[in-house]
């Protein structure tokens, strides 16, 4: 095997796998400390995620959100941008989806209503990212700072809108009125029922297909188009890209728009797919989770779908754990998810020096260089 191929295998598969296993090992130790049998806990977790059709539904429902935010983070990563603003972009994306629904005639065919609403989510998500993108490109304000600030702005704006403007009259919860039926994305259990397959009700809806299609589109965009090439070139070496005639500033703004638009699609899964109204905080955790998903998935759409599935399992299986085991509180579940993020995100390359020494010895790489 050539050195490059070996490196690709190490980076793409072996490292993430080792990282996840380390996280699980650390979780097992944690469980032992609180007198939980890790083996039984793992069984509960897997049963919760895949053991019955409702659980499977929830797993894929969470996965859908993580695919969107993972892709959002990954696209920005490819241009060398660290988009921490997925939370805010998802939140505002949901707002856009909902506003479009309320703005259109309620009698409109779903075939018009739903695509229009998806466009609303894309545009609003992008609009929330264009500001930080512009500030980074033309004013030199660091994207990490501005995107994280925009998260707070989004939260504040939404509280204002939800409690003062969009609030359903006579409602105590800050939520809008219900969307008309024709803006509801079909639930997977309803669709399957049409084919005579009976599964339990769950929030899983057709957004999962949208997520998979978008993942393919992102792959196509990044690796098969000029724009994608320009984004990747900027991310690899901005100076060289500029020298090659790529307008770096424009790329930064455009990339952030795409990234924000992708994050905005979380609003489709959550609002059009499940809650059927604009609610508060439907987005919490997915934007930040998307960073870990992108890191674990090595910024490749295929890897992101797999990593998103892992997070879907952790979310739904974790809920099952907290529900079934009285000595596992929901905070322990958060710790468990945190460990996965720690080992897959922060300590991403911990094993790399050892793996390199073991699998790609220096003599080998010297040969490769020669």
């Amino acid at each position: 095997m050539s050195r490059d191929r070996k490196l690709a295998w190490i980076n793409g598969l072996l490292l993430p796998l080792l990282n996840v296993l380390t996280a699980f090992a650390a979780t097992a130790v944690l469980f032992l400390l609180i007198n939980v049998n890790p083996w039984e806990a793992a069984q509960t977790l897997l049963y919760g995620a895949f053991g019955y059709s409702e659980g499977v539904g929830y797993t894929f429902y969470y996965t859908t959100n993580f695919i969107f935010t993972g892709l959002a983070v990954a696209v920005a990563f490819h241009a060398g941008l660290f988009n921490i603003g997925g939370e805010g972009q998802a939140y505002i994306g949901g707002l856009g989806a909902g506003l479009v629904v309320f703005a259109l005639f309620p009698e409109l065919s779903p075939l018009v209503m739903i695509p229009a609403s998806i466009v609303g989510a894309l545009v609003f998500g992008a609009a929330w990212a264009v500001g930080p993108g512009y500030l980074q490109a033309y004013r030199g304000s660091h994207i990490v700072i501005t995107t994280i600030m925009f998260n707070f702005l989004a939260a504040t704006l939404m509280v204002y809108l939800m409690s003062k403007v969009l609030l359903e009259p006579g409602q105590m919860t800050p939520q809008s009125r219900l969307f008309p039926d024709n803006a509801w994305l079909p639930f997977v259990h309803d669709v399957l029922a049409n084919f005579g397959i009976k599964v339990d009700r769950s929030p899983l809806n057709m957004s999962i297909l949208l997520a998979l299609v978008v993942a393919i589109l992102v792959w196509f965009f990044l690796w098969q188009t000029r724009w994608g090439y320009a984004i990747r070139a900027t991310g690899r070496n901005a100076t060289a890209a500029t020298y090659a005639g790529i307008n770096q500033k424009k790329i930064i703004v455009v990339t952030m728009c795409i990234s924000g638009a992708l994050a905005g699609l979380v609003g489709i899964n959550e609002l059009l797919g499940y809650h059927h109204r604009i609610i508060m905080n439907f987005h919490v955790g997915y934007g930040f989770g998307g960073i870990a998903v992108a890191l674990m998935g090595r910024n490749h759409p295929f890897g992101i779908v797999i990593a998103a599935l892992l997070f879907g399992i952790l979310y739904q299986g974790g809920a099952e754990l907290a529900f079934e085991w009285s000595n596992i509180s929901r905070d322990i579940v958060v710790v468990m998810q945190g460990l996965v993020i720690l080992f897959c995100g922060a300590l991403e390359y911990m094993y790399k020096p050892w793996l390199m020494r073991w699998l790609v010895p220096v003599s080998d790489s010297a040969k490769g260089a020669a």
Partner: protein, 338 residues
Amino acid sequence: MKKTAINKLVKGLTVALATGAVSMSALADIKPAVVYSDAGKFDKSFSEAVWNNGVKRFMDETGIEVKEAEPTNLAQVEQYMKRLAKRGHSPIVAVGFSQANAVAAAAKEYPDAQFTLIDMVVPEPNVQNVVFKEHEGSFLVGVLAAMKSDSDVIGFVGGMDIPLISRFGCGYEQGAKYQNADIKVIHNMTGSTPAAFGNPSKGAELTRSQMESGADVIFAAAGGTGNGVYQAAADAGKYAIGVDSNQNHLHPGTMLTSMVKRVGEAAYQSYSAAKDGSWAPGVQVMGLAEGGVDWALDEHNRGLVTQQMEARVNDVKAKIIAGEIVVHDYMSDNTCNY
């Protein structure tokens, strides 16, 4: 898990036989449950009050296990609610207005299960709704605050900026103005996300700025944020008013009173009623008349409240109960025009 259920049953039966007083059917019959708010069980506020004064009390008194669920997001609220109903748990207490949609969905799907929803109304035949008239209780502490204030400026620190919290502030202002038409009430909200219910340092900051503007009595309706408010008031030697639970003991000498909202009682009563077989659906409005809200007078604030103040507040309380004073509910029209 089956094994533990059998163990529990055996244990329950043993207890029943040993005491002889408890009927066996009661122990076997009800499988109560609770779904806490997504702020968590130990939120130093709402859910914790349900746990302390409702769930824990019921478990201690009856020995009946209450299954607890702690969701982390709204999708999980509905998921847990349906799981509990599916496994035959009933009544299921849903803590907080944000669970209304989940209760509505679960109640339709499981018509045999009984649900008790606190702070919100869902019109289903198997849902018991318990709502509180926070504005009435706030009115009373507003009257007391106006009497206690020397500067004729008082403050209100709310948690999250939502109508429910404005209802506290609006009732408080009405009470204060009822007592003293010239009094100035400074309103501040801690924040715009649920985190605003757990930010004591921001609460202290707002309190200090209100005190700089002259406020000498500050009412906090802000969950855990309130702790910062009470501390800042105590540090400056000014008065603070607690909320939800009786918080008079936190800083004796500067805690003027507390606006008590008995959410735990609602849970406890739901379980007890189910145990006696008297559980009934419908809407229960817990105002001053029903003892759902009240002002707290105990040994910790006795020294701060004169006989005259006590008489006045109780007089106003009687008038509200009698309907002579009608307190405007902020949430009836989302304005505080009274």
